[in-house]
Symmetry: C2
Subunit: 258 residues, 2 copies
């Protein structure tokens, strides 16, 4: 099987012009077929507040009402996505910016209302791997923002980590897929106070061990669960670290396999 | 040669939810391969004013400064484009939303500064007909907003009528192309005060005649010049009228050929 890399960047990279440019150079230099997924970051909150739209949070989680969805569609789907595409073109990467509505690539279900009504938030249901593959086979590089649709005309705000893992799982039907989660840390850390205490390799056995020792906790817990879920569903390898893991020189990041 | 229709809608359709839905149904029903191009309308002006960005006009023409370009990228490239794509998907048209940066489809030159500095405005230089055709051959329906790029990472605000004619000219290398310019009028009118006085057919001879009689004047003049330019460069047929010209029932619109 041919290899395919799916790279996810978060808000911290997008918000800083220099970091974004540096990252896009690394991404362009990454060999082989690839997909980029980007979150949105605080830019949407900033535009919303300028437009007089209050950010609604319940238990620390954002509620996407109709107005907020409009802002997200403007900022993630328009401003951030299209500027990334234009910058990648300047680096000779033939990018194509997508939401899950484009080529019906990612269908979601609007999250059911239980204790909390999250509003226009989607849980990924279906990834059209064959449609996405048509773009890849045409030598285009898909750039997904964190928006999907329900198939009935409704766009839905969707977690970028989930989009990344679900697209990777979908593409595993056709490729040997690796995920690169770029974030602020150098990887999964043994000691949260020592940024160089990177656990270089995690597999099912060491995962259990790290869980028992309480080394994987808090915010890292759902991330790792999500990773093993993707690995159990066909993804070959997941890398977590800062953007320099895309170069060949740096091996100080975490690689996760089954 | 296979046929390809390029349909352009303006701001008046986009701004009204009911008109847009009705149009998208007609567009979805249009047989054969097709491309949609949409302008932006007043929505961008509205968002800009809410964000405290003043619309700068010189001699009645809009100046696209950096802030205005951001709003245009948000509104045309994000909000309007992605909602159209989601709605077309619900009508089983496998749409893909694009700026000229995506798949490097439309390259422009930033308009040179002469008497007026129009800011981040692009004049179309190159249409990548083969790249666009890869999408069409994959049975995707391209939906272009009025944004292009310069190839060096800069997005540029670009006239939607020009995008339409230039994309049509480019695609004429591969298809027998027809343009449908949807606007408020039923077509080119003999008498501007009689909305039913449609000139049903214009060719090079009748065009000269209409010009001499002063029937084509004002805003219609550059539109018609643009049409004949496209026809001289490979486009087969151009239709101008209201959206109902996309149905088979209505023949009360203007068709222009060489």
């Amino acid at each position: 099987m041919e290899k395919l890399s799916i790279v996810k960047i978060g808000g911290n990279i997008i918000e800083d012009e220099a970091s974004l440019s540096a990252f896009l150079k690394l991404f362009s230099g990454l060999e082989g077929k690839k997909i980029l997924v980007h979150g949105g970051g605080k830019r949407a909150t900033h535009v919303a507040s300028k437009l007089g739209i209050e950010s609604k949070m319940i238990n620390g989680r954002r509620i996407t009402d109709a107005e907020t969805l409009e802002v997200i569609t403007m900022v993630y789907g328009g401003l951030v996505n299209k500027n990334i595409v234009a910058k990648l073109q300047a680096l000779n990467t033939n990018a194509i910016g997508l939401t899950g509505a484009d080529i019906n690539s990612i269908k979601s279900d609007k999250r059911p209302v239980k204790e909390i009504d999250f509003g226009y938030v989607g849980d990924v249901k279906q990834v059209a791997h064959n449609a996405i593959n048509k773009l890849i086979q045409a030598n285009f590089t898909p750039v997904f923002c964190a928006i999907t649709h329900d198939g009935n005309g409704q766009l839905l705000n969707t977690n970028a980590d989930t989009i990344t893992s679900q697209v990777a799982v979908g593409m595993s039907e056709l490729y040997e897929t690796s995920i690169y989660y770029c974030f602020e840390l150098n990887g999964v850390l043994k000691d949260i106070n020592d940024k160089n205490s990177v656990v270089k390799h995690i597999d099912s056995d060491t995962y259990k061990d790290l869980l028992e020792k309480g080394i994987i906790a808090d915010g890292m817990l759902p991330k790792l669960e999500n990773c093993f879920d993707a690995l159990h569903n066909g993804v070959s390898k997941i890398n977590m670290g800062n953007t320099s893991m895309l170069t060949q020189e740096n091996d100080n990041f975490t690689t996760i396999t089954l």
